[in-house]
């Protein structure tokens, strides 16, 4: 299977700090790819590079064979990149339905197929399971629900690649499980999902392939089982020095 989205040797430097160093990922359609790592590992920065909010110091982002490194965020969205945010970026003074509607209406700018934005918006809200709050202002919704609004909004752009930044935070166990089911259904339809997540049971249950990032570097890759066994990963999370682990 060929990768739909690749980041190629991406480096992001803030002054002397190297937030992302030589990170290369491949995100394939039809499966959830996990991106995990301790706080400050550079996960969100990498998301920003992929969506165009952060210009990389070096490296390339390729979508479907097209180099999009120099493209502005809105053009990438039109090519099929969508995301949610770790810290909420919902349109808080619009209703949940309007949030998704904005995205569905915007899709008309590039999607030539005929569709009714209002119907798409309602469908997306139902799909993520929050049809009952359609008319609530998003600013008044609990964090977890607002995250689902962001997800519905991202889906309304009909993306090829979906980047989710900690989607389960703010959700309870039951909702997290529903989210996992939803993700499995989305990838079954051929979507490529890149998932940043701290909830390990969620990650291990949904991701088929995982990249582990620490201090901006990919320190391990593989299936959930492989990654869990990796001593470097355990060291990164538990803060133990690698020497001690190997000893």
């Amino acid at each position: 299977m060929s990768a739909l989205l690749t980041t190629n040797d991406v480096v992001v430097r803030f002054g002397v700090l190297q937030a992302v160093s030589h990170a290369s990922l491949e995100v394939e359609p039809g499966r959830v790819t996990g991106l995990i790592g301790p706080n400050g590992a550079g996960k969100t920065t990498l998301f920003n590079v992929i969506t165009g909010l952060q210009e990389p110091t070096q490296g390339r982002v390729v979508l479907d064979g097209v180099d999009i490194t120099q493209k502005s965020p809105f053009k990438r969205a039109r090519l099929g990149v969508a995301r949610t945010f770790q810290k909420l970026e919902a349109f808080s003074s619009l209703s949940a339905l309007e949030n998704v509607l904005v995205a569905a209406e915007q899709r008309r700018a590039w999607d030539k197929t005929k569709f009714d934005p209002a119907a798409v918006a309602t469908e997306m809200l139902d799909r993520v399971g929050i049809g009952d709050v359609a008319d609530f202002m998003v600013g008044t919704l609990p964090t977890g629900t607002a995250r689902l609004v962001e997800l519905a909004r991202a889906l309304a752009t009909n993306p090829k690649v979906l980047l989710l930044d900690e989607p389960s935070s703010g959700l309870n166990e039951e909702e997290t499980e529903e989210m996992a089911v939803l993700l499995r259904r989305l990838v079954a339809d051929g979507l490529a999902v890149l998932l940043v997540e701290h909830d390990m049971s969620f990650v291990m249950g949904t991701c088929e392939y995982i990249y582990v990032l620490d201090f901006g570097q990919v320190i391990a890759t593989g299936s959930p089982a492989q990654v869990q066994q990796d001593p470097k990963v355990q060291a990164a999370y538990l803060g133990t020095l690698p020497e001690e682990v190997s000893a």
Partner: protein, 756 residues
């Protein structure tokens, strides 16, 4: 990449050519002799030194607190007047007056502002921050005008006026100028020492980098913000006292120095002190250059006053593009629903009906006391409703798209001037369309240099444009008849009907303009339901998220500016008609600010707020007349809107919102509002219970692990941490804490309680 640079390059070249033209066309003929150059340098450096002092205080306050203080120069003005009061009027010795003003009053104002107002603004939206400080500016101007009536002339003497000064070649540098330069250098060195060598200064710089982190390492952000406001006010005072002998003690002129300070601060990118000081010097030298070498003919009488505005524009062209930041989205917790079309119709119908029956004289009970339907008040009503249309043009721009512009009144002014050239003088309505076609791109042009920058620069750019339009465009003799009568306008003729504006027969125009106002209001209320409004609001709530769903931010901003400019231009056409004449002084910069503030106070996102704002504006002369025009109310047109805007620090959403939230339930068909209110009450009660529980724990510093776990239990997060030891080990705080704190349900926490 090249395409991105070239429009900017084009703009730079265009501005450079414009400046070059002005220099060549107005060359005064003074030779470039050593003496002239020396004079230019002495005057320029002294003036630039004052500007540098003023701007450096502004930058220190902005960098450490994130709030751009539009009142900075107005505070300096107030302090200069206070100093005059002590040293000249009461004859106190100079050092004592100086010490009281700069070491007692200035810091007191700064600390007071910080405590009472500014700390509440830290998490406010840019719109609210700007409105509050602009309100503060008007309030300080109004207070100064009330205490020191402008009818009396006052002069502040230069320091050491009697002595001859120092001879530099052929040029004499007065002691005042030498002191000015010495003080400027002293303040620059002092600020540098303070910021790099003292504990307070290091805390201040830490706060600039990260407020929360600085707080953790023991810096006290509260103390730092108090100190920086005090410092800001002190520099404003120094600058005010030094510059007043040169410019005269005139409130408007001194308060307008904010444009100068903003231009210098923009050169310093609002953070670099050395560059800000350089910026002050550049502006000072430019003005001195114009003074020594140029002599503006009667076409450009006021051009030299527009120099700071032009420099601000140029500075904006050189600023690096702003990044789309994430994690800064403001969370507004408002509950409201869209206005239904029939409600919009009803609302605009009521507005039209109210003014209509008043204009027809069908409301007898006002008597002769308040809002009486006299010719004077009919004339004012015509003017107010025109201003109302300009105010409406700000609703999509500021209210929805979050683009703060102070330029719309200037655009309307230019529209008025153009209309007089497009047949408006003869009452021909066809010119209105032409004016709108010119004003739409004009609105866009104003915004263009700032579109790629963050919102604050846009506000500064539009302020600079307003100043530029007032000083250069409108006052050009080809634009308006420069005589005292001004350019006269015939009443408008539409399809054979003449809409009279003659004294004694004015209600026709009042009804006409009110109808137009109501139609625009209806249009905007309906527009809020369209995809345009949705997209603009989305863009304002989160630019980053908008971009990632495919919104081209630049195009959307241009659209909303063009729409707003066209409506303002339309209103401009009405401006000349409403009064029958336009004079060059019809559009001073400050005239538009009160209405912008009143709109914000009423609720900048709601079209009906424009009508409330106009009513508010009308109430000031009404109250003034009702009370028999007492002298303490002379500046009520400034103080009133100013204080109202300051109140936004406490109630940021606008009166229309609060009224809607609290009163909509009274309307029989608003069952939803009644339910919403119940929810709100229940939620507040629940939050208070939680707060009480936390307070009852009585936890004080230092926070031991034991106390933290107590807190966790109250917040129901204790179990969470046990479940995910991996997460807990590295102290991942992102999101986990929000988990339970916000309630598990998808509907707002209180819903289940009330509904279930």
């Amino acid at each position: 990449m090249r395409l991105k640079v070239s429009p900017r390059l084009f703009a730079v070249v265009a501005v450079a050519l414009g400046v070059l033209y002005m220099v060549v066309a107005n060359w005064g003929g003074n030779p470039l002799s050593l003496k002239n150059i020396a004079t230019f340098l002495v005057v320029g450096i002294a003036l630039g030194g004052i500007y540098a002092i003023l701007a450096s205080g502004l930058v220190v306050t902005y960098a450490t607190t994130g709030i751009f203080n539009f009142a900075h120069a107005a505070i300096g003005c107030f302090l200069a007047f206070t100093y005059w009061q002590f040293s000249v009027n009461w004859g106190w010795p100079v050092p004592i007056s100086m010490a009281v003003v700069l070491l007692v009053i200035a810091p007191a104002i700064g600390i007071g502002l910080d405590r009472l107002i500014m700390r509440r603004l830290r998490d406010a939206t840019l719109v609210v921050q700007l409105m509050v400080t602009v309100g503060l500016m008007l309030a300080f101007m109004g207070i100064t005008l009330t205490i020191w009536k402008p009818t009396t002339g006052r002069t502040l003497p230069q320091f050491f006026r009697g002595s001859s000064g120092v001879q530099i070649g052929d040029v004499t540098a007065t002691w005042h100028r030498i002191i000015t330069v010495a003080v400027a250098i002293g303040i620059a060195v002092g600020l540098r020492w303070l910021l790099y060598r003292t504990r307070l200064g290091i805390s201040m710089r830490a706060v600039v980098d990260s407020r929360s982190l600085a707080g953790l390492t023991g810096a006290k952000p509260a103390r730092v913000s108090g100190a920086s406001w005090a410092l800001g006010c002190m520099t404003a005072g120094v600058a005010g006292i030094l510059i007043a002998p040169e410019t005269g003690l005139v409130v408007e002129n001194l308060a307008l120095l904010i444009v100068v300070a903003a231009a210098a601060a923009a050169i310093g990118q609002l953070k670099s002190l050395p560059w800000t000081i350089a910026g002050g010097l550049i502006i000072g030298l430019s003005k001195a250059f114009a003074g020594v070498f140029l002599s503006f003919d009667q076409n450009w009488t006021y051009a030299s006053e527009a120099i700071p505005a032009v420099i601000l524009f140029i500075a904006l062209l050189f600023l690096p593009q702003a990044r789309l930041e994430t994690g800064k989205a403001k969370l507004t917790k408002r509950t409201e629903r869209l206005t239904k079309p029939w409600e919009a119709l009803l609302g605009s119908g009521v507005v039209f009906g109210l003014v209509f029956i008043w204009a027809q004289g069908w409301i007898p009970w006002f008597g002769t006391m308040f809002g009486t339907r006299s010719d004077v008040w009919l004339g004012r009503a015509a003017g107010f409703m025109v201003l109302g249309v300009i105010t409406l043009s700000l609703v999509p721009l500021i209210g929805w798209a979050g683009q703060v512009s102070f330029a719309n009144f200037a655009i309307a002014g230019i529209g008025a001037v153009l209309f007089s050239h497009f047949g408006g003088q003869n009452g021909d309505p066809i010119g209105i369309l032409l004016v709108m076609l010119v004003c739409a791109p004009l609105g866009l042009l104003v915004a263009l240099p700032a579109l790629r920058l963050k919102g604050l620069y846009l506000a500064l750019a539009t302020l600079a444009f307003a100043e530029f339009a007032d000083k250069v465009i409108v006052r050009h003799p080809n634009m308006l008849d420069p005589s005292a009568t001004g350019t006269l306008f015939e009443p408008l003729r539409i399809f054979g009907f003449q809409i009279s504006t003659n004294v004694g027969d004015r209600q026709a125009f009042v009804v006409f303009i009110t109808l137009i106002f109501s139609l625009f209001m209806l249009g905007f209320m309906l527009m809020r339901r369209t995809r345009f409004a949705r997209r603009w609001i989305a863009m304002s709530d989160s630019p980053a998220a908008s971009a990632t769903i495919g919104v081209n931010l630049t195009v959307q901003k241009m659209l909303v500016f063009a729409l707003s400019g066209a409506v303002a231009g339309f209103a401009g056409c009405m401006l000349g008609l409403s009064s029958g004449a336009l004079r060059v002084d019809s559009f001073p910069l400050f005239a538009g600010l009160p209405l912008v503030l009143l709109l914000a106070v009423q609720g900048v996102r709601y079209p009906i707020a424009a009508f409330m704002a106009v009513l508010g504006l009308a109430s000031f002369p009404a109250i003034n007349e009702m009370l028999g025009k007492p002298s303490w109310l002379t500046a009520i047109e400034l103080i009133g809107p100013g204080l109202a805007a300051i109140g936004m620090a406490f109630r940021p959403e606008g009166a229309v919102f609060y009224a809607g939230r609290d009163l909509a339930g009274l309307l029989p068909w608003r069952k939803d509002a009644r339910l919403e209110k119940q929810l709100l009450v229940a939620r507040t009660r629940q939050e208070n219970i939680k707060k009480d529980e936390i307070n009852d724990l009585g936890l004080t510093r230092p926070f031991t692990p034991d106390k933290v776990s107590q807190l966790d239990r109250v917040l129901n997060v204790a179990d969470e941490l046990d479940e995910h030891p991996l997460v807990a080990t590295r102290g991942n705080g992102s999101g986990r804490g929000q988990h339970s704190g916000n309630g598990h349900g998808r509907v707002p926490a209180a819903t289940t309680e009330v509904l279930g």
